[in-house]
């Protein structure tokens, strides 16, 4: 039972990472794509939105990794070996992105210097979520196999498959949509910027539909376990709810009800990742590594569960406080 609790915390941390860190990546993409007469102001609005919580969002990813190696050490060892190459690329992306953003903020204000950092920041913001999606997708392909001696399929299995690519593109566009939707709320005091981000949120949101359909179709061949998971009894309800929320976000954007749009987008992303995890359950890596097969001993999992509950009780209120102080400003 404890392994399920720890796994549920991991999924929750992953969702929070997507909602907060993902939006940072999306913001970086829009930074790179900033066009037109208001490009500089768009960049400034994005930087302001990322500013207060900045790289702190990576703690969610660190949490996922730490829970993985504490709770499921065998799964961790195999994932880190099989996906060594994409994970290394992702780390390079994270390092470049985080530092480019910081350095742009504190470096000289003149245009060429700022642009150089911007290109690096934006480029890394494209690369990183793409690879994150590919990595996550690779786990479901069933191409990463492990025997009693460990990994048997080498370092290229899974993550280069069409299914993994489709997941990468999906993650990228999902984050871009999320960021644009957040930004419509963050720019309430600047109506012209708000219109810019509304347009971006609308078309990226509309694009999500066909991309999701492609992921689903590719999964029949590329990730049969996932496809089967998505055809279980609960799946139609979950898919229906996700689609409703997606449409709701678009309608709300259309009608300029930005707060509603933000809520719908948050719900949409949470349901996608939650449903994804449910479809893959009980596998950590399809088909050989289940939660049960890679779990740590009971003593560890029990302690971990206690620590997680205590941590949640202590830290979530402080985090709420941080958000309240900075994001709460606008509602005054």
């Amino acid at each position: 039972m404890f392994e399920e609790i720890v796994a549920a915390f991991m999924v929750a941390a992953l969702i929070l990472y997507a909602l907060m860190g993902g939006a940072d990546y999306g913001g970086g993409c829009w930074d790179l794509l900033a066009r037109g007469p208001r490009a500089t102001r768009q960049r400034r609005a994005i930087a302001r939105a990322i500013g207060p919580i900045w790289e702190a969002n990576h703690v969610w990813l660190i949490l996922v990794v730490v829970l993985l190696f504490t709770g499921f050490p065998r799964g961790f060892a195999i994932i880190m070996t099989a996906l060594n190459i994409p994970l290394t690329l992702m780390l390079i992306g994270i390092v470049l992105r985080g530092s480019a953003f910081a350095f742009r903020k504190y470096d000289r204000r003149d245009e060429p210097v700022q642009r150089r950092w911007s290109v690096l920041f934006g480029g890394a913001s494209f690369l990183t979520p793409l690879i994150q999606g590919m990595t996550l997708g690779a786990l479901a392909t069933g191409q990463i196999r492990a025997g009693s001696t460990g990994l048997t399929t080498g370092f290229l299995a899974g993550w280069l498959s069409p299914f993994a690519w489709s997941c990468g593109v999906f993650a990228l566009s999902l984050f871009a949509f999320l960021a644009a939707t957040y930004l419509t709320v963050d720019t309430e005091k600047e109506p012209d910027l708000q219109e810019d981000f509304r347009a971006r949120a609308l078309w990226s949101g509309l694009l999500l539909g066909p991309i999701a359909a492609v992921v689903f179709l590719v999964s029949r061949e590329g990730a049969p376990a996932m496809f089967e998971g998505l055809t279980r009894w609960w799946a139609p309800y979950l898919l229906g709810a996700t689609i409703l929320l997606g449409l709701g976000a678009i309608v709300a954007l259309w009608q300029r009800r930005y707060r509603w749009a933000r809520m719908a987008a948050i719900g949409e992303v949470s349901l996608i990742l939650g449903g994804w995890s449910l479809a893959q359950y009980p596998h950590l890596i399809v088909p050989d590594i289940t939660l049960q097969a890679s779990r740590a001993p009971d003593a560890t999992l029990r302690l971990l569960t206690i620590a997680l509950c205590l941590g949640a009780v202590l830290l979530l209120p402080s985090l709420y406080f941080l958000f309240h102080i900075f994001k709460g400003e606008e509602s005054r």
Binding site: G51, P52, I53, W54, E55, A56, H58, V59, L61, I62, L63, V65, V66, L67, F69, T70, G71, P73, R74, F76, A77, I78, I79, M80, T81, N84, L87, T88, L91, I92, I94, V95, L96, G98, S99, F101, A102, F103, Y106, D107, G150, L151, F155, A296, P297, A299, T300, L303, L304, A307, L308, G311, L314, L315, S318, L319, F321, L322, I325, F326
Partner: protein, 391 residues
């Protein structure tokens, strides 16, 4: 302005922390597969401490004029506290690698895992104590060096005088404590990992009344150390507090279990040497301060502070070299060889070089930005003092 500097360092820290947690698996999957369940706990706790640090640093940095002064100060305190806690947790995990407890190995698998016992292993106390004090020593003297540098240019700046006084006090109080904790650590190492101690001291032949060797050129083939400064009976006196005590030398251990003696010995001397130079500076400052009843600001004194600035960090790095290289060829002392833990990934040299280059670039950029942060806008000094008196 240190707050802004801290923001730069924190961002780089958050990023490289992410890298680190992944690299544990990318480089050492064999180690993590066995050790994850046993020492994952301190990493998880460290995660929480780091998390709290991130949250309160956010509040601290962006809350100057949005929080009440007391609340703001409490946030600062929590940042410091959580920073210290995360350091302690991580070092606990390293201590476990040196003194593994809290499990039994049966047929190559760990059973009866007890994560709490693993955290409270026999090496935890001295390692965490030594590292926590080291952090205060290094930061104290490094910050003192920066402010001494600015005082050399403009002797009257109240901001730099106040900051120097605080930093110097932190450094001068922690360095004598650090030397005591170093003595404690060495005696624990002698007890837990005699081969590591022998390598640290380049001590080859077992014997009573062993001399203390400083510097020199250890030679594994002849099992002797040439050109070293010898203090007769010094080692026995330090380790056992008895000039005729018997200290086992490297010859007691199979050759395959020796660490790289030269690197360990030299790193050890570098660490101890840096520590004692800082101790001398602390004594001098204490003496001057007491005699003149005010912050010492003679040019030669400030210059020596600037020169000594990096020593604390050099000592930290050298100390980690001692503990890590000294543990080789084991990754988990007495349980698992480092070579058994490494990833089967071929061409691992490539990512190694890529990451080295990235870290060098990051380090250069950080130095450049911190430099700009401090050389820029000297007029903001008054603003900074005004802000600090606000709090």
């Amino acid at each position: 302005r240190w707050a802004r500097g801290a923001a730069i360092l924190f961002a780089v820290g958050a990023v490289s922390g992410t890298v680190l947690s992944f690299e544990l698996g990318l480089l050492w999957p064999g180690f993590m597969e066995h050790a994850g369940a046993i020492i994952g706990m301190p990493f998880s706790l460290e995660g929480f401490a780091f998390f709290a640090e991130a949250i309160f640093l956010g509040l601290y940095l962006y809350g100057w004029d949005r929080l009440s002064p007391i609340l703001h100060w409490i946030c600062g305190l929590l940042v410091a506290l959580n920073g210290m806690l995360s350091g302690i947790f991580v070092v606990t995990a390293n201590a476990w690698m040196n003194a593994p407890t809290g499990f039994r190995m049966v047929d190559g698998k760990a059973v009866d895992v007890d994560p709490i016992a693993a955290m409270l292993n026999p090496a935890s106390l001295h390692e965490t104590l030594h590292m926590t004090l080291a952090a205060y020593v290094a930061t104290g003297f490094a910050v003192a060096a920066v402010h001494a540098f600015f005082l050399l240019r403009k002797r009257t700046s109240t901001f730099h005088r106040g900051a120097l006084a605080i930093a110097l006090a932190v450094g001068c109080i922690s360095i004598p404590l650090q030397i005591l904790s170093g003595d404690f650590s060495a005696r624990k190492v002698a007890q837990l990992q005699p081969a590591k101690l022998a390598a640290m001291e380049a001590h080859y032949q077992t014997g009573k009344g062993a001399p203390l060797l400083i510097g020199g050129l250890p030679n594994d083939k002849t099992q002797s150390t040439r050109f070293a400064l010898r203090i007769p009976k010094g080692l026995s006196l330090l380790i056992a507090h008895d000039p005729s005590a018997r200290i086992p030398g490297l010859e007691e251990f199979p050759r395959a279990d020796w660490p790289n003696v030269r690197l360990v010995h030299w790193s050890f001397d570098l660490m101890v040497g840096s520590g004692f130079i800082l101790f001398a500076i602390a004594l001098t400052s204490g003496w001057l301060w007491w005699r003149r009843r005010r912050l010492p600001d003679a040019t030669w004194f400030l210059r020596s502070l600037v020169l000594a600035g990096p020593l604390g960090f050099i000592a930290i790095e050298a100390g980690w070299m001692v503990t890590e290289l000294g543990r080789q060829p084991w990754i988990i002392y007495g349980v698992m060889r480092t070579s058994e833990a490494v990833t089967p990934m071929p061409g691992i040299a490539l990512p190694f070089f890529v990451f080295t280059v990235i870290y060098i670039l990051l380090a250069l950029a950080v130095i450049y930005l911190l430099r700009r942060q401090f050389l820029k806008a000297p007029e903001s000094v008054d603003k900074a003092t005004a802000a600090s008196t606000h709090v």
